[in-house]
Symmetry: C2
Subunit: 315 residues, 2 copies
């Protein structure tokens, strides 16, 4: 453990400082004299988002005794930028026009500049992380996993083979890998024991799986405004948890003229969604249980609270 | 200097071994259990290409006394993969259907998978370079420069402002930055003196500028089969050296129904192309002169020969 125990008020201040430092690091890393890259980056970053990945990294670091939040701001920013890059490219492939309550980069600047903005966010990650030797191994693997997961998803849609097994493979790579990198890097930066790093890595991984399941459920049931992105895109393209969990639902590819309503209605009838939510809930509970190895602290409580928010969120 | 002087035959064998190691490193770095990513990567890498960037890195390393070609294979492979990633994304934005004499990734696998393959090649670079702390700073800066250069080019096309100054800005970033990274990294891996690193960095940079000017000239005058890519794309989109060098040529944006022929004819009439070739030739000559600080060796002669090939090539 690096630092002494701190009280809840001090922790809250540290988290606030840390997340502010992450925002600054992201703005700085995406500064460019090329107007469209700087402006499109500011646009997507300025739209907010949950910042759950950098928060997971920061809270892991604090729960393991780390105290220098400025020290972890760059890697935390890199994780969020990596996610943002994938989101910008995803909106090209999915024709998403709304993201985080704003028009997508694709919708405003068009495909060419959206593609280049996504590339730029990737290279910003690379630049930001260049000085962090070992941690790059973790983040680079997650980055490759992310792209592989997106590709498996596009392949499954194309070949019309959206099984439960394929779904788990996809979300493990496209989402859980980056969550795992966040908690792994947070733990490593705190100078933790390998056993603690392992437990926290697993914790992040499970959070990522649960997060994506919940995200896919929300994509099905939530109101478009609340989600702040074009909903129905995932299910329209024949992917998403409900399709995968409901094998009775045929191959899950939307073929009707307005497939979203049809599929949504069908899913609401069954217990598919409740089943998926149960599964996510179980993952979160077991993840929280795995934190027993950590000394009690306000940071540990915050980490548990973050995990609970994943299952309880409605947007 | 790391190694003793070697003769030309031994150097040739080292270069051959080194370039073979680069090929193996690229194949290994792009191996994936996701079929489309592995196959599309093999497709574009298997098409060959000049491999001028990894060769520049390798020859710089050897000219500065380095001898362990396996040691430099990964960074050299990363440089070529970075270039390849940008090529795959470029073919999406330009609708290029031919690349290195084969159908482009975009033409075979479609836009979604081409975008993801380009992303995958980027993350392969990131993974490959993760263990090389300092060198990542050089390569990451070049990667950002590359994306910025491509973006400046797309912006210039869109706003119809293709000046000579803008052209130099664009090629400095989209091409010369990566050439500079290649020679800089080669010099650093050889454990060279900072003065030598500086000279070789500049050497790579100038080679990159000259290379792009010649490339743009060839894009204008060469036969499509010889170039192995969709020619005329650059000039069609209002970019390229001749447009920039010939201010009398209006704003340089192709507006006619078949603009390539019109523009090509106009350019052939004047001395624009001869002027550009002169400029590239001057850069190469001065670059070669700057190598006077290096001890004479077969590797230095090969480096000079590489520079000459840039200006003398016809494809």
């Amino acid at each position: 453990m690096i630092g002494a125990t701190i009280d809840a008020a001090k922790l809250a201040a540290l988290v606030e400082d840390g997340m502010a430092a992450v925002e600054r690091a992201m703005i700085q890393a995406t500064d460019s004299d090329v107007d469209v890259l700087r402006e499109a980056s500011l646009h997507i970053l300025g739209a907010g988002g949950k910042r759950i990945r950098p928060r997971l990294l920061l809270l892991t670091y604090l729960a393991l005794g780390g105290r220098d939040v400025d020290y972890v701001a760059n890697p935390a920013a890199a994780i969020e930028l990596m996610h943002t890059a994938s989101v910008v490219h995803d909106d090209i492939n999915d024709h998403g026009i709304l993201r985080r309550g704003r028009p997508s980069v694709n919708a405003i600047w068009g495909r060419t500049f959206a593609l280049l903005t996504g590339d730029f966010l990737f290279t910003a990650v690379y630049e930001l992380m260049a000085p962090y030797q070992d941690l790059n191994v973790d983040l680079a693997k997650a980055a490759t996993g992310l792209v592989e997961g997106e590709t498996l998803q596009a392949s499954a849609v194309k070949s019309n083979t959206f099984t439960r097994e394929a779904y788990m493979q996809i979300i493990a790579r496209k989402t859980a890998a980056l969550f795992r990198a966040a908690s792994t890097i947070g733990a490593k930066l705190a100078g933790s024991h390998p056993d603690d790093i392992r437990v926290l890595s697993e914790f992040g991984y499970n959070l990522g799986i649960a997060f994506q399941i919940v995200d896919d459920i929300l994509d099905l049931v939530s109101d478009q405004n609340k989600m702040g992105k074009t909903t129905g895109v995932d299910i329209f393209q024949g992917r998403g948890v409900a399709v995968a969990l409901n094998d009775a639902n045929g191959n899950g590819r939307a073929q009707a003229k307005d497939p979203l309503d049809d599929i949504r209605r069908k899913l609401m009838e069954g217990d598919t969604i409740e089943l998926a939510r149960e599964q996510a809930s179980l993952l979160i509970d077991s993840s929280i249980a795995s934190l027993a190895i950590l000394d009690d602290s306000p940071a540990k409580l915050e980490l548990i609270s973050l995990a609970r928010q994943i299952i309880e969120r409605d947007s």
